[in-house]
Amino acid sequence: MRSSKLPVGSYVRIEKPQLQTIVDQLRCRGYRTLGPRLADAAVVLDDLDSIQQMPIGYLDEQDGGKYRLQLAEGAGYFDYVVGPHSLKSYLFPPRETLLRCAEVEGQWQMETPPAAAQPLAVIGIRSCDLHAIEVQDRVFLSGPYVDPNYAARRSALFVLAVNCRRAAATCFCHSMKTGPAVRAGYDLALTELTDEFAIEVGTEIGGQVVGHCDWAPCTMEEINQTREQPEHLRRQMQRRQAAPPPAASGEGNGRPRGRYLDTAEIHDLLMRNLEHDRWETVGHRCLACGNCTMVCPTCFCSDVEEVSDLLGRNVRRERIWASCFTAEHSYMNSGTVRKAIAARYRQWLTHKLATWIDQFGVSGCTGCGRCITWCPVGIDLTEEVAAIRGVEA
């Protein structure tokens, strides 16, 4: 055990079981530690105090409307990719109190809960999800108003990011330029090697944490090898995209299909095709269940509910996640604006890929592929965009 502070930019190697030391160090420092775990036959994000709780050795097979986990020979600590959960649930929780009201002697006392957050450390965040955090930062921190609760949670976040060395058939981060290599926004960035993890220090606190491990410095050659690994994956994703196997082949036959989203002038493409026939076609398939918006790491729509005690004297205003796929989402007293499911799908897709850019200067899509996997009917946004691009209205 060494105890030293590693400077920002350091590159070190640790034995894989040493990851536990990092978890322990974070917990010592008061962090709640989250990481990948198995639940309900999926890899989810949950409290993690021992690395033995991680789904080590599992691979995920993902495709439109499909998610399967299996133990695989030679699979490492992090060879599954993103599951249904993202950090969104923790930075922008599905339910939170915005305002508390208490009636005292006939008068309402109204107060906002203090914007405080327990330090949160997350193990195993991928590049797509790091970009998703950046996207939500623009929503909640960069406009004329700042959401104080989000801001508090955001500044108490520690990220141990992981470079993917495998992509699922639903992954298309390479076309959104959001991965697979982790580039920024981490405290520690980890690359899984055969017997070791290579770790790059991104922040001072990251350096303090990893300094407690039994680390060895990386040689220049090892650094280059480590950096090459996500590059190798990116090239692999590009090759798949160039020669995709038939859509139905999925991953099971050992030739994962490669998704790709052509983002060239995508804003104008979608906005000049608001009356394309394809919206009607996809509207017939879409169940308007809202799954895609729930699993999307950037979707930010919400409702505000009144939660009252039985006497109506203690009332909380609670923000809950909402979905643009519901009729209520666009409801006004004069009626629902987006009555047809086709109109709601059009709203979701044009917002995600086009008007998001007008609003926040970036795409709302990070290429994580969750909306494809968790769509019960396997609607694939890359396919919808390709169809619109293929036959313009």
């Binding site: 915005l98 309402w108 004329p144 608001l274 930010f300 009144e306 007293n333 004069s334 086709a342």
Partner: protein, 286 residues
Amino acid sequence: MTAVATAIAPQANPWMAHSARITGIKREVPGISTYELTLDDPALAQQFRFQPGQFNMLYLPGFGESAISISSDPERRGTLGHTIRVAGNVTRALARKKVGDQIGVRGPFGSAWPMPICRGHDIVIACGGVGLAPLRPAIYHVLNHRDDYGRVFLLYGARTPNDLLYQDEFDAWRNGGLEVEVTVDLGDEDWRGHIGVVPILFYRLRLNAAKTCVMTCGPEIMMRFVIFEALARKLRPDKIFMSMERNMKCALGFCGHCQLGPAFVCKDGPVFTYAQMEPYLHLDDF
């Protein structure tokens, strides 16, 4: 329209509802009343500034918030008028409130009628029903600064003569130099005015296309025909201003409900130029 500065300091929690008192209730027409509100905190009440066309989120604990445009004179300090039609849960609960009762207020939010752009221009204010409410502050502004503007027409329509808002002010507005034309869908035996929809009132106007602005608020279908008349008279799309309505839960650009194409109606609107809205107005279910 670009969003204007708001009364909430950037470091303050934008979810905080400020306690206010109902200091006056005036029943305008059946189903519509104007509520005068005074913020309890005297400093806040004095600081509060809004521009014509902006709105507040009014809050009743246990019922929720509703986005209501401010309908009083922006130069009047201390109290804020809100003309409210009973339409949903919150406004129904508000209709049961009395003078002296408490209410929560967040605001002001949103973009404003472009009074500086309209300076030196003739103005056509075309509105229907309760759509006159967000335009009344603009009317007061014009009357307070009458010399800054050319001819100013108010084209106003409602379902029946009994549904016309602010009728007791029309004479004062005319005396102040407004040309007021009123129409109803359905007259009664005493009605001697126009019958028909608001856009037909355009036929009475002789407009100088290069020096005229239009401000319109009302049902989307009405605004579309107002714009049609304005464009037919060669008015410029960037000098036609419209106030849009969408579902809103936050007024902060967080909840996503009020999106209309690239715009958040709460912070980029509610007042837009026709040039901004033109690509979307003809689309069904958008």
